[in-house]
């Protein structure tokens, strides 16, 4: 036991920058990019899903079902190989993996948005339309501001989920926290100690974030 502790301390003093700066840094960056752009694309999916044009709805339903019904790791593989082939210019692995993560996140978030929008009282739409607002104006001025309250907490949860799921990106050595684990383990052969360190870091990240999120949600409720 004492040996483990001293090994952990030794590893941290030597490789702290690999874990904390490269690892945590890239994990947070990748997660933030994924959720931010995933939210934008998710909104597009959501509008497509609720559109009057049937083929558009079917397309989005198909994407969402495929994303839900296949393993994330497989989706990352597809992104890793497919994105460079589809684009006319060379892209980094980080880029390809980000695209796969974004599409995955967008699919889940589009359903979050949709249920958030549908949770708004239909009477709100009726009142707005009866005043003469168009469907688009009603969406922007009346529905989305009210749906945001339902959606923001779910968006935070998605961020926390994605932090953990980005670990799968280490399969492609894109440099996030789990990649740090692979690198340092390769250099030191101290598997358990390295696992402990990245595990603790993941836990700290998600724990702190979920506490922050809870506090934020409580404030949203108080303002209600």
């Amino acid at each position: 036991m004492g040996e483990y502790v001293s090994n952990v301390i030794k590893i941290m003093s030597e490789y702290w920058d690999v874990f904390l700066i490269t690892g945590v840094g890239y994990t947070l960056l990748l997660s933030a990019i994924t959720v931010a752009l995933g939210a934008v694309l998710g909104m597009v999916f959501c509008l497509g899903r609720m559109s009057r044009i049937a083929p558009l709805r079917w397309l989005v339903i198909a994407i969402v079902e495929v994303v839900r019904g296949t393993p994330m790791l497989l989706q990352l593989y597809v992104g890793y190989f497919l994105v460079p082939q589809l684009l006319p210019f060379p892209v980094s692995d980080f880029f390809s993996i980000s695209v796969a993560l974004i599409v995955n996140s967008a699919a889940y978030l589009s359903e979050v948005f949709r249920s958030g929008i549908q949770a708004v009282d239909p009477g709100q739409t009726e009142a707005a339309r009866s005043l003469g607002l168009s469907a688009g104006q009603t969406m922007v001025k009346i529905i989305i501001p009210q749906a945001t309250k339902n959606i923001l907490p779910a968006l935070g949860n998605e961020f926390i989920t994605i932090i953990k799921e980005t670990s799968l990106a280490s399969t492609f050595f894109v440099g996030e926290l789990m990649t740090s684990y692979l690198k340092v383990k390769g250099a030191t052969y101290l598997t358990m100690e390295c696992l402990f360190i990245v595990g603790a870091l993941y836990f700290l990240l998600t724990f702190v974030l979920s506490k922050l999120l809870n506090a934020f949600e409580r404030r949203l409720k108080e303002n209600d």
Binding site: G123, Q124, A127, L133, Q146
Partner: protein, 246 residues
Amino acid sequence: MIKTVELTKSFEVKKSEPLQVLKGVSEHIKKGEAVSVIGPSGGGKSTFLRCLNLLEKPCGGHIIFEGVDITEKDVDINIHRQKMGMVFQHFNVFPHLTVLDNITLAPVLLKKRSKAEAADQARELLARVGLADKAAEYPKRLSGGQKQRLAIVRALAMEPDVMLFDEPTSALDPEMVGEVLDVIKDLVKEGMTSVIVTHEMGFAREVSSRVLFMDGGVIAESGKPDEVLNHPQNQRTKEFLSKVLV
């Protein structure tokens, strides 16, 4: 002002058997009239009212509003809805906007009023219904009666030619019914053309120029309040009135 011709509406509750809610309603609401619509629950009163501004899409027939057949395909209904105010049973005020913004939203957006101009008009309207001091509040701080008065002036801010009320006092505690009915009464006195679905028989008798009795998807009886409420000809009207105790 509003004329309906053989208006029909069915809901597809189950695929095979559509529920026909309006079975050919022809009615002419003239300028300056205050028409009360009474009748048993499920008789199609709300559906009829909601068809008038196309919140419900009729299945057949025509609606002529100020000379325009708004059931025609290429009609921009949003323009016509600006001229038809609607008040709902459950108020449907916008909870994320202040009282003032509830009122100014549509005029600023649709009538291209300046914010200041719309706010002045809104304050005037609020004063008229006794809510002058609530302008900066959010609707959650209002009572039911206050919310409904807000909903009424929100509609009035668009300067409509006709007001449609769907049971405006049914969701209110009894002590708040009066304050809302008073606002509607004043409007009618000023000559606002109104269609009011209501269960308040006393109110219908006092303010309306005409009463429609709707049952089973048709207007079964129509006439002056005294005719319909005190001397009904139709058997179903008689039955209904004997139940609600005029």
